[in-house]
Symmetry: C2
Subunit: 148 residues, 2 copies
């Protein structure tokens, strides 16, 4: 079983590589403009913009779970899971469940009202996984955005 | 025309009142468990979890725009508009456009890659407004969450 631990600056290249693998699965690799250098600056500065956990197996990072804090005007502080990815060869071994459990504990420790994430509407295995983990799905909202 | 300015600790009661008005419009007032005390602590501590702008008219707050920073693994730092609300009597006077323009400038100053928000799928006037402001709408994602 892989070991789940907090990500460090030494994990940045592995983090970037797995972000790209996930983007490829999401049919959106050209959308990734972020770089290892920017990830290092954003995750380990004075006010980090995000944090992450890694799943390590035989000294290799085989999965990542990247989070940051959101703010709900209704509920307060929210732990948001931006990316969760496990390499195909290492699925079905409980790493996803282990990540979600670590994040639930993290959310409790940091006094967050919620653990939250988004899922693509066509990603049925992911929808079933989150439902199995006791999460609720809200289909009512659309995302609106503008490139700056 | 209302004056747009940054929110201060003195605006917290007005902020909470307008958050409740918006929740009522969204058919979800009982969902609001946040309080003025918690909003004050979360918005004005050492590492503020959010910030906000107000629209002021004759010394009264008639609109709010509450934001925080998200992190996109693909794009980097994102300015996220959590709540935007203008009291019904003060609509159609350009306050919404003024908020969006101030937030676009804010996003540029803070080197954000995007200004982003969410809209309820049944809120057609809002969808038309954001499209008029040059924003794009992505209907492909569902929200997944768990109460902690």
């Amino acid at each position: 079983m892989a070991h789940i631990r907090k990500g460090t600056p030494e994990d940045i290249n592995a983090l970037h590589a797995l972000i790209c693998e996930l983007a490829e699965f999401e049919r959106a690799l050209p959308e990734v403009t972020n770089t290892p250098e920017q990830l290092l600056k954003d995750g380990f500065g004075e006010n980090p913009l995000y944090g992450f956990y890694v799943a390590e197996l035989e000294a290799r990072v085989v999965g990542i779970a990247l989070y940051y804090y959101r703010y709900s005007t209704w509920k307060g502080k929210v732990l948001y899971l931006e990316d969760i990815y496990i390499q195909p060869a290492h699925r079905g071994q409980g790493i996803g469940e282990a990540f979600i459990k670590v994040l639930e504990t993290h959310a409790q420790t940091e006094q967050c009202a919620r653990l939250q994430l988004q899922v693509l509407d066509w990603n049925e295995p992911a929808v079933r996984f989150y439902e199995k983990m006791g999460m609720s799905i809200d289909k009512e909202w659309w995302n609106v955005y503008k490139t700056i």
